[in-house]
Subunit: 215 residues, 2 copies
């Protein structure tokens, strides 16, 4: 059975995965780049942007697991773009340029479906109004036996955790206090009972936590 | 100048330092012993209870810093006991028996002062209605040039952090989701700007974070 995986999902010490005030200029709101600094330095991030550079250390050991074995992604509408409510135009094709980093089908959860967008490089954005289980069934079908990544944001990851649909989750904990934003842990009391949790600190200051579903 | 220190202060992944429903039977509320398990195994905790036992590993390296160099403690009234509001009797002398672990003056912050209690072994409980700065002045005086420990609970540590009175803080992060309880990080947005933060993971599963005041 293919697995459902979360990777490189980054939260502050107070549990926020993004700041307040997401906009076209500030995809992470008032958190700006502070949550993802550990990731920017990795070989995986650099390769996503066509650079042959970046670290091969602890951070990369986790970052690099993001792609291999993944056949589809599910993301929330707030990850796809800063717009809210009905689409006022359909020009917006995501933050990732004309050749997005995904190279697989991507299912965008939204109450406002719109036509599928085929991008360069194998990324296809499908817009669906579905609950986690139904979205996962679609993504599994599209993944052709490979794993499905839950790409975020916080509300989407939370919903899949609450529905007990996640097999593996990697969380990077950044020792900053955002104070406000998109909470990851709300409503997930005793989540640890369903997972084996391990942690390792990186010289970058981030602590990597892995949640492996207990069988 | 003596330093103001916080040690072995333990929070869940969602930032709670104690659960909901603190009572005589459950000092940590619904969190019960889950937050402090890492500490129970250390040589420092075992020695507090008269045992020549316990680990000497990463957890002990942090736990053992709790005592040396400390001349006084400040604690909140909720750490001293489960009662709330005016004292209905003055029989309660804390959770720690007749020879408490502190062996120094201890200043208990309360809106309901009561007479000082002298315990065995050098612990004296003083009950004062004071703001953080005034309480610290009293504790510094009593500490005779040694450091002052802020003993918790969460609201007390938060007040001293908000007033920028803490020089060193050790936080142990336990990878559990409590869901509700006493929050440590509320109102402390961008706390990291005032500190150098380091972290190390322990085989026990806890991540130890140190906050050292940036000078």
């Amino acid at each position: 059975m293919s697995q459902v995986r979360v990777h490189n999902f980054t939260v502050s010490l107070d549990g926020f995965a993004a700041g307040e005030g997401q906009s076209l200029e500030s995809p992470f709101g008032h958190a700006q780049g502070r949550l993802m600094e550990w990731f920017f330095g990795t070989r995986t991030f650099q390769a996503m942007h066509g650079q042959d550079a970046g670290s091969n250390g602890v951070d990369e050991a986790f970052a690099g697991n993001w792609g291999p074995g993944i056949g589809a992604e599910i993301m929330g509408r707030n990850k796809f773009g800063p717009q809210r409510g009905p689409w006022t135009d359909e020009e917006w094709q995501g933050w990732w340029g004309d050749d997005p980093v995904f190279h697989t089908p991507v299912f965008v959860l939204t109450h406002h479906p719109r036509p599928t967008i085929e991008m360069k490089g194998g990324t296809t954005f499908h817009f669906i109004d579905a609950d986690p289980a139904d979205a996962l069934a679609l993504a599994r079908e599209a993944a052709g036996g490979l794993d499905v990544r839950i790409g975020g944001g916080a509300a989407t990851v939370r919903q899949f955790l609450a529905a007990d649909l996640v097999d593996h989750m990697h969380v990077a904990l950044v020792p900053i206090i955002l104070g406000r934003g998109e909470p990851l842990w709300d409503g997930l009391e005793s989540l640890e009972d369903r997972f084996t949790v391990e942690s390792v600190a990186s010289p970058s200051g981030v602590t990597h936590l892995t949640f492996t579903r207990a069988r």
